[in-house]
Structure formats: C-alpha cells, structure tokens
C-alpha cells in the first residue's frame, strides 16, 4: 500500500491543521547517557494542545528516553527542547521542579504507593502546591474536593478510601491518570501505560487519555507497543528506531504496513516498506 506522506485522503480537521503554537517543541534532540552512544539522535517533535500522539518503536528505540528528556530525567546532549515555555537546555535554579510539576506522567507499573489510600495517591499530584500544613500530612479541603472529582471522572471514586494495592491493574492506572490530572498539567506523558493491562483495560485507559486530550486540550504523548492500539487511539503517530525518528504523520494517513518500518528487522532494512511511504 502506498501512502504519500504529503497527500491527504480527506480534508484535515481543525486539530490536524494545528493552528495553535506547539506546547512542546523539540528540535534536533540528541541524548546520550554518561558519554555513551546517542540514545536519541536528531529527533524533531511538536505537540499541540488537544492532540494525542502515539510514540511507536521497538524496545531500546528511545521512546522512554524521549519522554524522560522532556522532564529533565535524561541529559540533553544536543539540540533544543521546550516544554510549556521552559527551555530545558537552559533552566534556571528551581525551574526543573516547575517543569516536572507541569507535566503529568503515567507509568507502565502505575508507580502508586500501594499502602496509601487511592485518595492520598491522587493528592500527591498536588504536592508542588502543598503548603506548610502538608508537613503533618494534610491537604486542603479544596485539594481533597478536586481529587474526589478527578476520581469521579476516572470512575473509581467509590474506591477512594481503599489502599491502592487492592485495586486491579486497570483501576490503578486510572488512579495514576487522576494523579497526573491533579497536577493541572500542561502536558501528559504516558510511558507504555497499557503494557501491563489486558486488551479491554488497555482500550479503556487509552480512551480515557484520548478524551482528556480532546476535552481538556492537554497534549498527550503516549508510547505504545501495540500498533493497532496506536492506530485506533491517536491523532498522530511518531515512530522511532535506534533513537532516530522515522515516521511522523497524522494517524489517518498511516496504516500497519506503513508503520512496519519502525519495527523492521535490521537485516530487512531499506527494503519495500519505506518505498511505500515515499
């Protein structure tokens, strides 16, 4: 199947036209750990309000590193990365915490504190706003109301008092999403959020993330391993291999065959699939 990258099958939607300024702007990003080889090599990426972008790539392709580099957890060796007005290559003292506070993160293993209640786990999303009263473990009534509203939104307010470890994987991931929303994020990064979930739960979590992107105007960058899920639940797909960006196109212009290039075995490289895209 041939899909010209610049040819559109239908008129572009407002979201696809992307009239807004990008909230995340990455240019020629290079990342290397401790003087080692480049894990990311010349990645360009823009994320616009309201869009859900799926990040595809094999294990070790640099998906997690790209996400970490957007929150200061990976060292930027070259290029530029701007998140919500912050230049990550030139942060002033104390700004890193502000950047992190403005980016909601959802993890593969949920990363909840199992012994704490679901409500407290969600409240930890507001730690950057917490005042001195927080020293003795209290959050304000406003915070608690907001956390319960978010639990209503993700459909597990009835579990608010239960310890997080007593919930199923899908429910725990919903708590993690509520925690991310508690931050009032400008951007949500979800690093393989459905890798530990069954297909039904996976769809439900991705639908929730897509709805958040659409309804709240928060860009969501989600890394996935399952191509059909990416095709079904994203507005745009970015494909990485060996730290390089091979694909970046609206989902409507791509199909599974077009994305094979991202997962192609090294010995098959350069054959067939890439030509289909050209």
């Amino acid at each position: 199947m041939t899909i010209p990258a610049t040819q559109h099958a239908r008129p572009l939607s407002a979201a696809e036209l992307q009239p807004q300024l990008p909230l995340v702007s990455v240019r020629d990003l290079k990342v290397a750990y401790g003087g080692g080889p480049l894990v990311l090599d010349g990645v360009d990426l823009d994320l616009f309000p309201g869009e859900m972008v799926a990040l595809l790539g094999s294990s070790g392709s640099g998906k997690s590193t790209l996400m970490k580099s957007l929150t200061g957890f990976a060292p930027i060796s070259g290029g530029s990365a701007r998140v919500g007005g912050y230049d990550l290559t030139n942060l002033r003292r104390g700004q890193l915490r502000d950047v992190r506070a403005s980016v909601g993160q959802v993890f593969q293993q949920f990363n909840l504190v199992g012994r704490l209640s679901v409500l407290t786990n969600v409240l930890t999303g507001a730690l950057h706003e917490a005042g001195p009263i927080n020293v003795v473990g209290g959050f304000s009534t406003a915070h608690r109301k907001r956390a319960l509203e978010l639990l209503d939104r993700v459909g597990i307010a009835h579990k608010a008092k239960e310890p997080a470890r007593s919930l199923s994987g899908g429910q725990q991931q919903r708590v993690a999403i509520a925690r991310a929303l508690m931050q009032r994020p400008k951007l949500i990064l979800a690093d393989e959020p459905v890798a530990s979930l069954d297909p039904k739960m996976s769809r439900s979590v991705l639908e929730l993330l897509h709805a958040i992107a659409r309804d709240d105007g928060i860009p969501v960058l989600v890394s996935l391993h399952v191509m059909p899920l990416a095709l079904e639940h994203s507005d745009r797909i970015v494909g990485l291999r060996h730290g390089e960006m091979l694909v970046s196109a609206p989902t409507s212009q791509l199909d599974a065959a077009a994305l094979d290039v991202v997962y192609q075995h090294d010995d098959e490289e350069g054959e067939g699939v890439v030509d289909d895209l050209a």
């Binding site: 993890f107 990363n111 730690l127 950057h128 931050q183 694909v247 030509d275």
Partner: protein, 282 residues
C-alpha cells in the same frame, strides 16, 4: 509535521552482542566442574573454621564432662522460691519501663540518623560520616555504654535507658536506613515527577513504603531491649539484672530460679504480642 525518513530507515544498526562460544558450551552442559575459585574456596573456609575452633578452645569432650555439673546447677534451681515475688514484679516492671523508654527514644533517634544513612535520601557528604558514626556505635557493646552512663549519671535505670538508646542507634539505625533504601523506586520516581521536594518524596514516597519494616524492627528492638535491660542491671544500670546477679552471688538458687521464670514469662508474652502485631502490619 508529516514526515518519514527512508534514508535513516536504510541505515544498518550495529550487530547485537554475542555470547562467548566457550561460555555458551559451558552453559549448555548438564554437569559442570565447579570453578577453580570455588574449589580453592572450600579448603580456605575449612581452615578458617578449624583455626577458629582451636583458638576458641571449643571442645566437645569438655562439654560432655561438664554436663554433670550443669545438671547439678539446674537441679539446684528447683524448686523456685516465691517469697520475694513482689520485689521481682516491681523490678520486672522497672525493666519493662526502661525497655519502653529506651525503645521509643532509640527508635526516634535511629529514624533521624537513618535519614542521613540512607543512600537514596542523604547526600554523599552526610551519608558516609553517618555510616561511620553508626559503625563506631555498633562496635561498642551496650555494657560499655551502661558503664559510661553509670559513671556519668549514677546507678539506676536512667543510665540503662541512655545506654539502650545510644546502642540502638548503631544497630536499628542501620536497619532503618536499609529498609528505606529497599523501597520500590517507582513511587519515588512518580513523586519526583510531580515536582515534589526532597522532604515530600521522603514523606509520601519512602516512609509509607518502609513503614511496616520500620515498625517491625522497632518491635524487635523492644524485644531485644527487654532482654538487654536484664543484663544492663548487672552493672548497676537499673532493672532486674542487679537482683539476678545478687541472687547468683548469694547462691540463692530458689530466688534465682523465680527471677529466671518471671523473665522467661515476660519475654515470651512480649515476643508473642509483637509477633502478632508484626503479622498484622506486614
């Protein structure tokens, strides 16, 4: 932005690392001759053991000969005499009080010190000195601290409490620090990712995860302190230890037997109670 990159797609990746063929052959064999370092290690460990047995004058024959004396000693302990039961109970209560205060103070101080000795919390400049101080404290027996505090504050339970408190920093402080280091790093990462401060990461990410271990070790410390308090009494640091030593020196075996039985009952009750609590929290 709508791009694909055929040039980059065509680039060859470096070949994946291979397993050494000799190592592969060895891994495939059902039976392997142990490695030379393992074969050399066995006689070294055996020699070390023999050296230690000889140096410590460990002698099974002597133990057999002494069994008769031991039996005679034990026979003198019966029947126990209960005419000083009130004294025993009063001193046991004092011992228990010493253990409670020593444990609470020791646990609180150990927790504070443990923050400095946990590598995932403390900066390097604090981590190493704290560990050194804990090592020094741990290398000194509680009896030495007891003698030191008896000479400082005089005979009585206060000296014993101080000895237990300081002694526990070395032992339980290290265990507390290691419990905090062993927490799941995922929630800690999540806390850092929401922009939490160091204090908030400890409060919401590390302490809740390590709390069951901290409580469990505190209960173990309490059990140890109840037993320890009986020994500290022997150097005049309060509790039932002094009465125990006096009974032995006076050859008052009936009274000694009653004291030992009471200590066994107290320690067993505390052990059982703390085991139940530990089961519930872990």
């Amino acid at each position: 932005m709508s791009t694909t990159s055929p040039d980059r797609a065509g680039r060859k990746a470096p070949p994946p690392p291979q397993l050494d063929p000799r190592e592969r052959e060895r891994l495939e064999r059902a039976f392997n001759v142990p490695r030379a370092r393992f074969l050399l290690g066995i006689p070294v460990v055996a020699l070390l053991l023999v050296w230690s047995f000889v140096g410590a004058e460990f002698n099974f024959a002597k133990l057999g000969e002494g069994a008769v004396n031991m039996g005679e000693f034990l026979s003198r302990l019966f029947p126990p005499t209960w005419d000083k039961f009130d004294t025993i109970v009063a001193l046991l209560i004092e011992t228990l009080q010493m253990a409670i205060v020593g444990t609470v103070l020791g646990a609180v101080l150990s927790l504070v010190v443990a923050f400095g000795a946990a590598s995932n919390i403390a900066p390097k400049w604090l981590y190493y000195p704290t560990r050194w101080v804990m090592n020094i404290i741990r290398s000194l027996p509680d009896l030495v601290f007891a003698l030191m505090f008896v000479s400082a504050v005089g005979l009585g339970p206060f000296a014993g409490i101080l000895a237990m408190t300081i002694g526990s920093i070395g032992s339980i402080g290290k265990i507390f620090a290691e419990a905090m280091e062993a927490v799941d790093v995922g929630p800690v990462t999540a806390m850092q990712a929401v922009g939490a401060s160091k204090r908030q990461v400890v409060q919401y990410g590390i302490l809740p995860q390590s709390a069951p271990m901290l409580v469990s070790y505190t209960l173990l410390l309490f059990e140890g302190n109840v037993r320890g308090a009986t020994i500290l009494g022997m150097v005049g640091a309060g509790g039932i230890g002094l009465e125990l030593t006096t009974a032995m020196k006076m050859y008052d075996y009936g009274h000694l037997s009653a004291i030992v039985i009471c200590i066994i009952v107290l320690v067993t009750v505390i052990d059982q109670a703390s085991a139940v609590i530990r089961r519930r929290i872990t």
